[in-house]
Symmetry: C2
Subunit: 500 residues, 2 copies
């Protein structure tokens, strides 16, 4: 290892080459791997992850980073990269390899049992494995350390500096502003969205999804679209960013908004300069900011009128039988139907945050030891009744619906809501900076909007924290009031009432 | 590293996990990678190859293998595995990492210039880079060492124990038996194969190719079929073996025989037990034997009458417009048309070996220093005139047609001919062991044939050498007389004459 910034960069890029190989292994597993390939795939991933862990925490590398930070004077970017790396090394070292491997085995077992429990509609099959996961997550939070709340250590893995105290502030407003708004909507006459659930040819859906990506200025020389069970974005480098979509023959909403959503994630990754590959300046800053980039396309553009004035004729052309007789205004209402329901991933953009809040409250209580795994099913069902007025008829409609806990990802859910709230804040700012944004969208013109996101968010990688990015772009850190204002204005108009 | 056979196996499997990740990177590059992904892909491959080289030659690992061989008494399989590994370590150590990396850069540059030279139809653009490749290959042969001929060291990389002296014997028979047979055929009335070059729908071709794989008993739960520029077989493990095909809208031969050929390669890999993964007993023995498994399906089954009695009605059903009026006997003659031509990859099964022989003679002369790169184009053209009576009109029809030299693969071509000659020998033996083989094929029944290949070849991995496998299966080592007899009988009948 050369004792210079170049040597530091080379080592990071070596790690990145292995990490990006891991990314390809994961992508392939989800889209094309033959089913018998699973066993060896798990071993490949484990081997490469172990090598990454060793390289990322090697004493020689740590010494180099410390040496460079102490002895040399660098510009802003180099210093921030070195600081970020030093912090990452220290974080990585807190989790010994034995813990990482023990947790990987537990996740793998737990995932299998989650699937089995789903098949049997029996939470008790999964419960002991979830208990093990929760114990391991608690151990992890102790290994990582925290100041106020054990949950903070886990939140910090997905969104640096996020704390229970910040989330309490955010979700208290979900409770006081969004939940009442939903209750008001429920009392209005409901909109008709039946025409979204006709029969749509799968190949035509896929072609339309690729057209959508092109209209978003997604670079298909540096990316691709495939089909998978769960839509996702995978990046090998900013020059090879892959998105997937899900096609349901009798539901056109699935392909459209999963494509726009993943396309938004993908545009973030494509917006990072390849020259920063492997460095913190070449990595997305946090899950919350990542989700803001998918949500701003999916909701603020993708469920609003201006862009659909341009897109809707194209959809009608692709599916004339299904849409020739449907007005744009009816289509717009249909794609914004709000209805309390049981499944998070298919929830509308208002009730969605109640789903997240319920998970947040449960995770926090688990970490605090206030509830045990054995109480979770009833607790879950009760919260759905309290907040949304619905009650799961079976575990796959309730406690067993999400994969996250089986993967040991506690602290992940809140970033979904953060993303939407950031998106509303960023979109409000975009309208200020691009006063003709909505008339551009009516012409299908997204270049200026994308350029603004590139300039304000994408290009910086991890050089600024999420909070700093937000402050530099919008003048303030995350503020849910933008989402609340957006929601009240939009849904008041759609459902024809004045929100409280 | 644990000081036991288990520790040895774990280390080999760790290497295999990285090698199989490399296999996936290569597969993806050829089938699905977006075009901008190339630069990072090269770096990923280089990083993983370096790690493999370090792990494969680590002194600790070498000591373990030597220790186990000296101190412990193992059964046949374990001893053979350890011996093979010891030999591989010694071979790998002969090429220092600096040489490996220097050669990788030269190959990469040379490949680019080969492509450029092809675009310009100008061998001189490629010549200096080829000279560099030849120098590096000569350096490699000195580093590896040899007893009689520098070419032997390179041959040995693809086919262990293969030597110039053995090849002289083989190709002298190509010259004395096959070349005259071709000349006799050329003087007979030619067969009509025009109906193979009608227009065939691409999707239907692909569907037919998947049906072919299923008829071959290819396991699609442990493999898949995709489309690529050049057909190939890629194996991650015996549980994940992927083949590709090439589709030409106006040539049905392409998809059929590339599928059967790669399917034959794939069946070999699927026939190795997953319990041997990573060990020599879990690796195919040599390129020649590998090619025998593709060729036996492609030619001995796939261009013969019995199996087509079963397959042809299916082809007619898939493409009724094109084949309803064509007799099986005309079809059979068409797919066996012999015609001297310029391009190796599209040559028939007789002239093919003249193409290989020309390359063999040139490579040997290059290694001996008897000819220089500057003389190659004319030498090439002259040999085509002498042996086949045809002369390239431009370099892409001649000296620039094959990718191999730009990749630094000298010594590779002869294994193609070896494969066909082994295939004829193995097929003759199969007919002895399965007297009703051809009537089974007429019913589409290939299970017993496949089981015989599994038992005689596939399951052994590297436990026996290619020569030993041949001796155990057929009672003798490679003997080209089986191919000569097969060729004379088959083509005498098709073209209606008695071969000399």
């Amino acid at each position: 290892m050369e004792n210079t910034y170049e040597g530091y960069k080379n080592h990071l890029q070596k790690i990145a080459h292995i990490n990006s190989s891991i990314a390809l292994l994961n992508w392939d597993e989800a889209v094309y791997m033959p089913k018998n390939g699973l066993e060896i795939r798990a071993c490949q991933l484990s081997t490469l992850c172990t090598i990454v862990h060793e390289l990322s925490t090697s004493p020689e590398f740590e010494n180099l980073v410390n040496h460079l930070l102490e002895k040399s004077s660098f510009g802003f970017k180099e210093t921030r990269n070195l600081e970020e790396t030093r912090e990452a090394i220290q974080e990585n070292k807190k989790l010994p390899l034995e813990y990482v491997q023990k947790a990987a085995i537990a996740r793998s077992e737990s995932f299998k049992k989650w699937e089995e429990a789903r098949g049997e509609e029996n939470f008790q099959i999964f419960a002991p494995y979830l208990k093990n996961i929760v114990d391991l997550e608690r151990e992890k939070s102790e290994l990582l350390g925290y100041e106020e709340h054990p949950y903070d250590a886990l939140l910090n893995l997905y969104e640096k500096n996020l704390t229970v105290s910040k989330l309490e502030n955010i979700f208290s407003q979900v409770k006081s502003q969004i939940v009442p708004l939903i209750k008001q909507i429920v009392h209005q006459p409901q909109v008709d969205d039946g025409f979204l659930y006709q029969n749509f040819d799968g190949d035509k859906q896929f072609d339309f999804s690729v057209d959508l990506l092109k209209l978003m200025k997604y670079n298909l020389d540096a990316g691709r679209q495939d089909i998978s069970t769960h839509p996702f974005t995978n990046h090998i480098s900013s020059q090879d960013v892959r998105v997937t979509t899900r096609i349901k023959e009798n539901d056109i909403a699935e392909v459209i908004w999963s494509t726009i959503h993943e396309g938004g994630h993908g545009l973030y990754e494509q917006g990072i300069s390849i020259s920063e590959y492997g460095l913190p300046s070449g990595e997305s800053v946090s899950l919350g900011i990542h989700e803001s980039q998918s949500r701003i396309w999916e909701n603020n553009l993708g469920r609003a009128l201006p862009w659909w004035k341009f897109l809707y004729p194209k959809l009608q052309e692709a599916f004339p039988e299904q849409f020739a007789e449907v007005d744009l205004s009816d289509f717009y209402k249909a794609i914004n139907k709000v209805q309390p329901s049981l499944i998070r991933t298919s929830a509308d953009e208002l009730t969605y945050h109640v789903h997240v809040m319920i998970r947040y409250e449960i995770e926090k209580a688990l970490l605090e030891g206030e509830v045990g795994v054995e109480d979770l099913e009833e607790l879950w069902n009760q919260k759905y009744m309290d907040y949304l007025g619905v009650r799961p008829g079976k575990p796959t409609e309730g406690i067993l619906q999400d994969i996250h806990w089986s993967h040991g990802s506690l602290g992940y859910f809140p970033t979904y809501s953060l993303g939407s709230f950031y998106a509303a804040q960023f979109y409000a700012q975009a309208k200020k900076e691009l006063p003709d944004l909505e008339s551009q969208l009516e012409l299908g013109e997204v270049s200026n909007f994308l350029a603004l996101l590139r300039k304000s968010i994408h290009q910086h990688g991890k050089l600024y924290t999420a909070e700093q990015l937000s402050e530099r772009f919008t003048g303030e850190s995350l503020n849910i009031k933008h989402f609340v204002a957006y929601a009240k204005e939009k849904y008041g108009a759609i459902y024809g009432f004045s929100p409280d």
